[in-house]
């Protein structure tokens, strides 16, 4: 009896010692590699900001320029053109995918409608896109955190995580989001091989050209606008965009909703 208790305690003691040393051995084993451990980092040319923003000078844009800008964006990001010619008008309207598009003043600024609008503004094309809000309602609505706000202010979609529930589309007051009701690939006229397409069942929207900013390039629309659009850090008082905002009177879409849109319009 005495003997077996003694044995039991011995074994228990050794076992406890063994368990105690396991983490130490692991740590030593992990530290003794050759070379530095692999790691990941941002590119050297990556542009950074606290809140990216955009100013669109609508006085400098006409239908032709607007179309050119839309084309630049949509061809860069493999946005399908689900045209009425291919699927019929009714389906084309329902299945339309758009990242940036043209609209009228009274559609863009529903809460800023004077009774009698100047003819010039009434006929002017307005470019609208995701506003990359300071307080994005789509991010709050997303149940999988597929849509999230980056530290630089971009409201980005992780298509890998999107389950296609479309809560974000209901939450967005700007209609900036489109749903892929069908496989978009047959409708992409010229595929940009450097950028992925989307698949049936995910929502998509403007990404403020996160992939271009990562390599030091401005957004495709800004590049194509030839000076009519200014992109920059809204929280940097010395940035070009703040300079433009100081010099011009600007308006934003549906400010009263409290979303804090980051796209400004010079009227």
């Amino acid at each position: 009896m005495e003997d077996s208790r003694r044995r039991f305690l011995k074994i228990a003691g050794i076992a406890a010692l063994g368990m105690g040393t396991a983490p130490v051995i692991d740590a030593v084993a992990a530290s003794g590699g050759h070379g530095a451990a692999p790691h990941m980092r941002k590119g050297d040319d990556a542009l950074t900001a606290k809140q990216w923003g955009l100013v669109i000078d609508t006085t400098k844009l006409d239908h032709e320029k607007v179309e050119h800008i839309i084309e630049a964006c949509h061809s860069t990001h493999n946005v399908p053109n689900i045209s009425a010619a291919k699927v019929g008008q009714k389906v084309a309207t329902r299945h339309e995918i758009k990242w940036i598009w043209e609209t009228h003043y009274h559609n863009a600024f529903t809460d800023l409608r004077p009774q009698y609008l100047s003819e010039d503004v009434e006929e002017r094309p307005f470019l609208v896109l995701c506003n990359h809000c300071e307080e994005p309602p789509c991010v709050q609505a997303c149940p999988t955190q597929a849509t999230f706000k980056r530290p630089d202010g971009i409201v980005l979609m992780d298509f890998h995580r999107c389950i296609g529930c479309r809560f974000c589309m209901a939450a967005c007051p700007y209609g900036s989001r489109s749903f892929n009701l069908r496989d978009p690939r047959p409708f992409i006229e010229k595929t940009n091989l450097a950028f992925p397409t989307r698949t049936k069942g995910v929502v998509e929207k403007c990404n403020f050209c996160a992939e271009r900013l990562a390599v030091g390039q401005p957004p495709a629309c800004v590049e194509a606008s030839e000076g009519a659009m200014v992109f920059g850090d809204l929280e940097d008082p010395h940035s070009e965009i703040r300079e433009v905002l100081r010099e011009h009177y600007t308006i934003r879409r549906k400010v009263s909703l409290g979303t804090g849109p980051a796209v400004y319009y010079i009227i």
């Binding site: 990941m40 890998h160 091989l193």
Partner: protein, 130 residues
């Protein structure tokens, strides 16, 4: 108990059916493991982002980590243990060397009966389609 025979027979039948995959494989000729074809570019590079054994066993975890880091952390450069840098991109980096997806990726995936849905969105062959 008079059902002894039936019970034993039942147990034997169950045992034979349950172990079917094991003995079936012992008698049937095995499907040969697929042969990987390396492109000239991949051969010239000699090593992938990590060593071959790691890539064979863990490329899916690596790609998973890459996609999360690129999309969610906005970090796009991968620095391996040798200090070499890579743009973390399936279509633009992996398939730049392994531009023979059918012979490199698909063969093995088919053998292992795996259907990754990467290609639903990611364009499978940047170099050769256009």
């Amino acid at each position: 108990m008079n059902d002894k025979g039936k019970i034993i027979a039942g147990i034997i039948i169950f045992f034979v059916v349950a172990t079917f995959p094991f003995w079936f494989n012992m008698f049937v000729e095995k499907t040969p493991a697929p042969e990987l074809v390396l492109t000239a570019k991949a051969q010239a590079a000699k090593v992938c982002v990590r060593d071959t054994a790691f890539m064979k066993a863990n490329h899916m975890q690596l790609l998973d980590e890459w996609r999360d880091t690129v999309v969610r952390k906005a970090e796009r450069i991968y620095v391996n243990a040798e200090g070499k840098e890579f743009n973390m991109s399936l279509s633009n980096t992996c398939l730049d060397c392994h531009s023979n997806k059918a012979e490199f990726c698909d063969r093995c995936h088919q053998y292992a009966s795996i259907e990754p849905y990467c290609w639903d969105c990611h364009i499978d062959n940047p170099k050769e389609t256009k």
